[in-house]
């Protein structure tokens, strides 16, 4: 890893982190490249080593699908956690914003690591819960703010 410690591997000691990172394969993508598509099979997740990834969802704009920004992830953050959560389908589209280096960790290799080292599995699972929980809380708040506007517009 070149930059920040990956949020998914926080709490692991050096040896455990090296063990986990050794399972990954390094990917370098230019800006504007699609990392994964909406609905595609999620068999690996990605740790961003350097660069930025945009997560989008399509909305209908004048009769055409247009990708709308949902979140941006940068160095040290994780994208593609759907690889560890059934039904293993990506629920967003991921595109690099600039030249980006990532470490791809396959579901199979991570499962094998967790089985061999439950302590690592427990720590990574807690970190994964934090990543998912953060997304949930953020969107719960954004949804409530939108609901407030709908209520003000139509019901008051």
């Amino acid at each position: 890893m070149n930059y920040r410690e990956p949020d998914l591997l926080k709490g692991l000691n050096d040896e455990q982190m090296e063990q986990a990172l050794a399972l990954g394969s390094r990917i370098s993508l230019p800006g504007g490249a699609e990392l994964f598509g909406l609905g595609s099979e999620a068999d690996r997740l990605f740790l961003i080593d350097r660069g930025r990834v945009k997560l989008t969802l399509p909305i209908q704009l004048r009769g055409h699908d247009q990708d709308i920004l949902v979140e941006e992830r940068s160095s040290g953050q994780t994208v593609g956690w759907s690889a560890l959560i059934p039904p293993y389908r990506f629920t967003l589209k991921a595109t690099t914003l600039i030249e980006t280096d990532l470490i791809a960790l396959s579901r199979e290799s991570l499962r094998a690591l967790f089985a061999a080292s439950p302590e690592v599995g427990y720590t990574v699972s807690l970190n994964l819960a934090a990543v998912i929980g953060q997304r949930l809380q953020l969107f719960q708040t954004m949804w409530l703010r939108e609901m407030q506007r709908v209520v003000e517009r139509h019901c008051v």
Binding site: I59, I68, E71, L138, T141, M142, R145, Q148
Partner: protein, 106 residues
């Protein structure tokens, strides 16, 4: 006799003065024929006013280029996320409902 004649003359004079005063007052109330008449405007009811001028829905809307619209939406999402993150850091009702400067909701 003289007194009676004086009273009659005074009464007649009073009648003439009253008649003249009435005639003058009545004349001033009549509109002059050559004076310009004020224009009478028809005040349309609000419903009629809007019904006459309102275009079909969407016809008056300015077509913003899709790229500009996407930029506005992206800006809106960023502002909303920042507002949501502020709330998550210090959850209060006031922070939950802070307004942003996003033109989409203003």
């Amino acid at each position: 006799m003289v007194l009676l004649l004086m009273a009659a003359c005074l009464g007649l004079l009073a009648l003439v003065v009253t008649a003249l005063a009435y005639w003058a007052a009545a004349r001033s109330e009549e509109p002059a024929v050559d004076q310009p008449q004020p224009e009478v405007f028809k005040v349309a009811s609000p419903v009629g006013f809007f019904a006459d001028t309102a275009a079909p829905a969407g016809a008056m809307r300015i077509q913003v280029p899709v790229e500009a619209l996407l930029l506005q939406i992206e800006n809106h999402v960023r502002l909303e996320q920042a507002a949501a993150e502020s709330f998550l850091e210090y959850p209060t009702s006031a922070l939950l409902h802070t307004r942003t400067i996003s033109p989409i909701v203003n």
